[in-house]
């Protein structure tokens, strides 16, 4: 039973949870990535305008059991600026494609954010004390007149209003000819990889002028190009393993111990095409848009256009489970091809215990599948249905000609401009963050707040 705890819209100053007439938003406000950190205390969002907004969960109040931590704005900063590549006469968008948090190792938080070309490491630190009582300068910083100093004092640290400082620590640039679509931090906490359409590079977090190319699928002749890399991720605890997905619906698990250049995969996960379901769009809808390792490291979750699949790392020839996200669109593929919706890249997410998977769909719907009970639910992220403490009502899309109940929505009434591409699940609790265009919805399962 999911209840909305917050609806956060792009206009940060008005965190009103009352349904409002839908305010116009600028293109720059469209959220392009959502990511919880490893404890779930912080939630980072990136938008098309190159900004990153970090939310922090308030500690639970003891008095009111239901005011479980809300997420408040912790910091906002401009991560990437639009650039113009003069050599190629190309504009480089500042849209944040991915944010990944580093595991926390000291009081500061570190995150990687990337646009199409450049990855940046940001340090997010707090300052809540400041020294007072200098001998040579006064409180405003002006140099004191020596003659007025009569005694020595030791400066002391006094508390101040919390200030969050964000500073860029590294800029990893000029390593990608094509558009970066994924970054993934290695479990060794020293390296990370960045993947573009044709190549994957391995970086050391401390070294910005060099990266190693570990996968290169660019053909010698670009005319022979038929496949691109769509997503890549490191294994959660085997620092030598990573997986990358392709536009042809294949997953490749690579072991960096085998060779410096991991073009040759260790395992290839591919489901043979179902001959009865062949169409002109078979390849397009098989293109994997997101791949995520389970927290256990045993399974892979992939999302293609119509389904979400769970793969066992030990079984390459077919997925373990296949979940139909919106199969009612199968008969509409031609129109979706025409209006480009068929190229939408939906993300997917595991819950903390790997028992439930979640992914987005159209009309601001998102779907959750319980792997154990095989039950699934469709929910909508909208202001009208998201009053605080309300319970989200399951939605149903009825295919044309099917039995129609009240409140069902027909396939043709779906709004394809409202798509939920980016979702994130708290690593430990049943809290999810859903990005719907320019709005961020945070939902929590009140009844089952802990994982089971």
């Amino acid at each position: 039973m999911l209840s909305p705890i917050q609806v956060l819209c792009s206009d940060i100053t008005s965190l009103s949870l009352e349904p409002e007439p839908f305010a116009s938003y600028t293109e720059a406000d469209i959220i392009s990535t959502v990511e919880f950190n490893h404890t779930g205390e912080l939630l980072a969002t990136g938008d098309k305008g190159g900004r990153v907004v970090i939310f922090q969960r308030e500690p639970e109040g003891k008095t009111e059991p239901f005011s479980q931590g809300e997420y408040n704005v912790y910091s906002t900063f401009q991560s990437h600026e639009p650039e113009f590549d003069y050599l190629k006469s190309l504009e480089i968008e500042e849209k944040i494609n991915k944010i990944r948090w580093l595991p926390q190792q000291n009081a500061a938080h570190f995150l990687l954010s990337t646009n199409d070309k450049t990855i940046k490491l940001w340090k997010v630190s707090e300052r809540d004390k400041r020294p007072e009582g200098y001998n040579l300068k006064d409180e405003e910083g002006r140099i004191k007149d020596i003659s007025t100093v009569t005694s020595l004092q030791v400066p002391v640290l006094r508390p101040m209003d919390l200030m969050v400082e964000v500073s860029p620590r590294r800029v990893f640039a000029n390593a990608h000819t094509y558009h970066v679509n994924s970054i993934s931090v290695n479990s060794d906490c020293e390296t990370y990889m960045s993947a573009d359409d044709l190549r994957i590079n391995l970086w050391h977090l401390g070294i910005t002028d060099r990266s190693f190319n570990i996968v290169d699928i660019k053909p010698a002749n670009m005319e022979d190009l038929t496949e691109v890399i769509t997503a890549a991720e490191f294994h959660p605890f085997h620092c030598n393993l990573f997986v990358y997905s392709s536009s042809k619906g294949t997953l490749r698990l690579c072991d960096m111990r085998e060779a410096a250049l991991c073009d040759k995969h260790s395992k290839l996960f591919e489901e043979p095409e179902d001959p009865s379901a062949r169409s002109f769009f078979s390849e397009i809808i098989s293109s994997v848009s997101d791949v995520k390792f389970s927290h256990s490291g045993r399974y892979l979750l992939t999302r293609d256009y119509l389904t979400a699949k769970v793969w066992d790392l030990n079984m390459e020839n077919k997925p373990l489970e296949t979940y139909q996200v919106h199969d009612y669109l199968r008969s509409k593929l031609c129109s979706l091809y025409e209006n480009d919706c068929i190229f939408d890249k939906f993300e997917c997410a595991w819950n903390g215990s790997d028992s439930v998977i979640m992914t987005g769909a159209y009309n601001n719907f998102f779907r959750m599948f319980d792997r154990n009970t095989k039950r699934d639910v469709t929910l909508e992220a909208s202001r009208e249905s998201s009053k605080p403490r309300a319970v989200l009502k399951p939605r149903r899309v009825c295919a044309a000609g099917g039995k129609r109940r009240k409140d069902d929505i027909g396939v043709d009434s779906l709004d394809f401009s409202k798509k939920i591409l980016h979702t994130a699940w708290h690593p430990a609790e049943n809290i999810i963050a859903i990005a719907a265009t320019n709005n961020l919805y945070i939902f929590q399962d009140k009844l089952n707040s802990e994982m089971h």
Binding site: K88, S89, L90, P219, E223, T226, F280, C334, S335, Y337
Partner: protein, 400 residues
């Protein structure tokens, strides 16, 4: 995107439930949409390589299915299985494989049907003096080539020529060549040409009227890029401009309806032109060369092109700018350099006429577009990007 007078309905997309006519209808629809998408893909705010690759693969798949259907129809007509249909399907069925043979095979297939179409096509082709000879010659050349590749062409082709319906699948063969140029221009746009330049207004592209009408978009993008990139010494730009310019030259002699002829002749004409011009009187050479040199922005019509081309061949053979990267035998050098001039002509047309006198400009664009062998820009042979294609050309030249 309306199919010729029909009210467009979206056919049912369940493959099992479709009749062949519905399937064909949907195929045509998807084909048109794909071409349209590619054409405008460069203008997107966010050019996406994944999207372009998927569209190109869809186009390939459509042409593959069309060829399979046509082959099956042809085989059925002949009442007897020749090994040709499955072989042809197989040849086309390796989209992901770097198969240089595939391209020649595809183009070769176009030859005889082209010839047939050239014969059968009605009045719009009045201006097409060059193409019919192309096609006949090309048919011969490609026939030889097909023998070399191992395809069994003739039976299939004749079957195709009898049936206009199946002939409508011929553009799809040419489309495979189009797809190769799609991807080349992809590289142009991603790797550093000018695809999707939002800030500076794109230089006015000479519209490839017939090409654009036919949504043979592959030409449009590289052509536009070529115009913008003329000052930059990048081989991709050269490639694109060569290719696009060649299209431009051909375009003026085409009827708007000549999608089939257009793509065929523009992609494949090079193969036949060297045969065609074997015995052209090169005395025209010196006189014409100067005129040609001055025509920076000119888009010679097909006829003018033919007149000028021999002039280039002699001048090229006399110039020392024969790229050594092309490993043709010296005995074939007149034709070799002729072909080079053929390839280079389009980029020439985009050159600034004021910068160089004719001879040096011809040699300058030789150096402009003479990168290493493996990436030599062969425009009309939009396919001719790898050494094997050039080897094939050698074979053709030797035989001619």
């Amino acid at each position: 995107m309306i199919l010729k007078g029909q009210k467009r309905k979206l056919p049912p997309e369940d493959a099992a439930a479709q009749t062949p006519a519905e399937w064909e209808g949907q195929r045509q629809l998807v084909l048109h949409i794909s071409l349209h998408k590619y054409q405008h893909g460069q203008e997107l705010a966010e050019p996406s390589l994944r999207r372009s690759v998927l569209i190109a693969n869809t186009l390939r798949r459509i042409t593959l299915e069309a060829s399979r259907a046509a082959a099956v129809a042809a085989a059925a007509e002949r009442d007897g299985g020749t090994p040709a249909p499955p072989l042809r399907s197989k040849e086309n069925a390796a989209p992901g494989v770097a198969a240089p043979h595939r391209r020649p095979a595809v183009t070769a297939h176009d030859g005889p049907p082209a010839a047939a179409v050239g014969d059968a096509s009605p009045s719009p082709d009045q201006q097409q003096q060059p193409p019919p000879p192309h096609h006949h010659q090309h048919g011969g050349a490609s026939g030889r080539h097909q023998a070399g590749v191992g395809a069994a062409p003739d039976a299939c082709m004749e079957g195709d020529s009898e049936d206009w319906e199946s002939m409508s699948s011929d553009p799809d063969f040419s489309l495979s060549a189009a797809i190769s140029s799609i991807l080349t221009s992809l590289e142009c746009s991603i790797d550093g040409s000018h695809g999707g330049v939002p800030a500076p207004p794109p230089p006015p592209r000479t519209p490839l009227r017939s090409l654009e009408n036919l949504a043979a978009a592959a030409a449009a993008a590289p052509e536009g890029e070529g115009a913008a990139k003329q000052q930059q010494q990048q081989q991709q730009g050269a490639r694109g401009s060569c290719w696009g310019g060649w299209e431009r030259a051909e375009e003026s002699s085409r009827a708007t309806d000549g999608c089939v002829e257009l793509m065929r002749s523009s992609y494949l004409g090079d193969l036949a032109l060297d045969d065609l011009f074997q015995d052209i009187d090169t005395s025209l050479l010196e006189r014409e060369l100067g005129v040609l040199g001055a025509r920076g922005e000119g888009h010679p019509s097909g006829e003018e092109l033919l007149r000028y081309l021999p002039s280039l061949s002699s001048s090229s053979s006399s110039s020392s700018a024969t790229p050594s990267s092309l490993s043709f035998s010296s005995s074939a050098s007149p034709f070799l350099s002729f072909n080079q001039s053929l390839w280079c002509l389009p980029s020439f047309s985009s050159f600034n006429p004021s910068t160089a006198p004719s001879t040096s400009s011809s040699s300058s664009f030789f150096s402009f577009s003479s990168p290493p062998l493996s990436s030599f820009p062969g425009p009309g042979l939009g396919l001719a990007r790898d050494g094997l294609e050039l080897d094939h050309l050698t074979e053709v030249l030797v035989e001619s």
